[in-house]
């Protein structure tokens, strides 16, 4: 875990958390897992992250450099406590939309969007195609990886070096490059130092 100033956290450990959910697609889940800070990000934002089972099946591996060798590190979603992350199963009532969406996008995005649409849960995705499908369904504009992290960094008051470390981990372990159209792209560039 990187350094954080717990005194600035809005909620102390043990405080009751409001039951608020953010639905992640596999790609955002990979990015947040790469930070090694997922539990603290959830706690700080007073949310539980949720993944549809089909999206959870897509997360795969991070890439870590160990003794000069690129190593595949499995993303173990089961290692997070229930307050941090839960995996949800579609109900039969959600199947028709899921099946319809799966003609256009992969099973994970289809299940995620179907859950977001039917249960009214806030969704986070960076995927251009998935965001377009959300817009076609008139869903609330989804959050993005950098939006979640920017908010987290502001809330806990991360110092520049700590924040850079966090973002570099996503770049290197998850090979994430934000789109230029991402509202936080400039912020990312300034912190990570790419131009």
């Amino acid at each position: 875990m990187g350094h954080h100033r717990s005194s600035t956290s809005p909620k102390q450990r043990g405080d009751p958390l409001p039951h608020s959910l953010i639905l992640l697609d596999a790609c955002v889940a990979i990015n947040l897992a790469a930070t090694d800070q997922l539990p603290h990000i959830a706690q700080t934002a007073s949310v539980t992250f949720t993944l549809a089972r089909q999206a959870a099946a897509e997360v795969g591996y991070l890439r870590d450099l160990i003794d000069g060798e690129v190593t595949l590190t499995p993303i173990d979603l089961g290692s997070y406590d229930d307050a941090t992350l839960e995996v949800t199963i579609l109900t039969p009532a959600e199947y028709p939309l899921y099946v319809d969406l799966a003609r256009t996008v992969d099973d994970g995005e289809a299940a995620t969007i179907a859950v977001a649409a039917t249960r009214g849960i806030t969704l986070a995705t960076d995927d251009r195609k998935a965001r377009r499908v959300c817009a076609e369904l008139h869903l609330t504009e989804p959050m993005r990886t950098l939006g979640i992290l920017h908010s987290y960094a502001d809330t806990v008051g991360l110092q520049h070096a700590q924040l850079r470390n966090l973002l570099v981990k996503i770049r290197d372990r998850a090979s994430f490059q934000p789109a230029r159209s991402d509202p936080d792209h400039k912020w990312w560039q300034e912190i990570v130092g790419d131009h």
């Binding site: 790609c27 997360v59 795969g60 890439r63 799966a102 996008v105 195609k129 076609e136 789109a179 131009h195």
Partner: protein
């Protein structure tokens, strides 16, 4: 959202049937798993009764297939499996090979889906099959190899980007597959996709090139039947195999160019033919020293039996190449055709497919797909911090 007009009737039905068959379940077993009667499952597979969303989700789970793949708008290319099954009747590695054939079938299906999504066509022009009739297989192989080189305008020198030539100029689809050790490659002609070659991914680069050229010959002359090429030919190989080997030898090492280079090198070594010369020439043509030596024997440029003598004297071609600094750089060979990968990358860049779809097409996980995207969109330039600069095709497209 979905363009139902593009859906081919019964595509779902035939995909469900193919998925059940590849999972090894009978209709009765699948019906029990689904909790319906056998006649109802048969009706779903015939397309006379539409599957409900709940049934479709459950069938996808039973067959281990994504719901999205089952709903592709065209039927699966089942002809590939059927043609191989016919050829497999006499093969001993039927079990081992059936997995590889399933993989080839799946990759061909992916390729067709990418082409459909991109509203594009696979590269290459259709060439009618060439009959070799009653010609001597060796002569037919040499004649056709020369003709093909002329048609492709590649002179008589070594062909370095062989796979590119076959994929882009000839229009073959080359897949590197995990095949049984004893199998060098496979060939099948699929009506929708053209000639598909599967090459053993675990074989050395030189051997893979020979296999590609060998299967290319099958495409040119005997494409109506699927071929499974063993590493070691039988003592009396069929004429089609002798023809394909003759074509490969002549296409990779044409008589005129090889003779010229051989004599030039021989002159530079005071007229002596040394093992180092053979290693050097094999490196230039990117073939094995064995293939090169046997070719020179055939062309009567060196005495017959030279390779046997080298082998009896425990000659180690790889060690010799290493010593001479002439090892082929064994780059991580891409399993999928370049055009296939570029189609997938461009569709992702255009926002036409999602990141997990890109990963599935490329046969990797999501982070692997991101790396592949960056690799295929990287320029030779570097950013200010020294990292490779990436041309974001999505941004370029606006």
């Amino acid at each position: 959202m979905t363009n139902h007009a593009n859906l081919e009737p019964n595509a779902l039905a035939s995909r469900l049937r193919a998925a059940r068959e590849s999972s090894g379940l009978t209709q009765a077993q699948a019906a029990i798993e689904l909790g319906v009667s056998r006649p109802l499952l048969i009706a779903i597979e015939k397309g006379t009764r539409a599957a409900t969303p709940e049934e479709l989700v459950k069938l996808a789970e039973i067959y281990g297939k994504p719901v999205s793949e089952l709903q592709r708008s065209s039927p699966p290319p089942i002809a590939i499996g059927a043609r191989f099954r016919a050829a497999l009747a006499s093969a001993t590695e039927a079990d081992d090979l059936s997995e590889a054939i399933g993989r080839l079938e799946n990759q061909a299906d992916n390729y067709l889906d990418l082409l459909r999504r991109a509203r594009s066509e696979a590269p290459g022009r259709y060439l009618p099959a060439r009959g070799i009739g009653h010609l001597d297989p060796w002569q037919a192989g040499e004649d056709l190899a020369t003709e093909e080189r002329n048609r492709l305008g590649i002179g008589d020198g070594p062909i370095r980007p062989l796979r590119d030539v076959l994929e882009i100029e000839v229009g073959l689809r080359v897949f590197l597959l995990p095949l049984p050790r004893s199998v060098a490659g496979v060939f099948v002609y699929a009506d929708e996709l053209g000639g598909c070659i599967g090459v053993n991914i675990s074989h050395p680069a030189e051997r893979r090139r020979w296999t590609m050229a060998h299967e290319y010959a099958h495409y040119l002359a005997t494409r109506d039947r699927a071929e499974i090429t063993p590493v070691t030919q039988r003592r009396q190989p069929p004429e089609s195999e002798r023809f394909a080997d003759a074509f490969a030898a002549n296409f990779l090492m044409p008589r005129s160019g090889l003779s010229r280079r051989f004599h030039e090198l021989k002159r530079s070594k005071d007229g002596k033919v040394t093992p180092a010369l053979l290693v050097q020439l094999a490196h230039a043509y990117e073939v094995s020293v064995q293939a090169l030596t046997l070719r020179l024997e055939d062309l009567r440029l060196i005495p017959s039996g030279t390779w046997d003598r080298l082998r009896d004297n425990d000659f180690q071609p790889r060690a010799a190449a290493r010593l001479l600094g002439l090892e082929l750089s064994e780059q991580a060979a891409a399993a999928l055709p370049l055009h296939y990968r570029l189609l997938a990358i461009q569709l992702y860049a255009d926002g036409e497919i999602t990141e997990p779809q890109l990963a599935r097409y490329l046969g990797t996980d999501i982070v692997g797909a991101r790396l592949a995207y960056q690799e295929l969109t990287e320029t030779g330039d570097v950013s200010d911090d020294g990292s490779p600069q990436i041309v974001d095709l999505a941004e370029a497209a606006g």
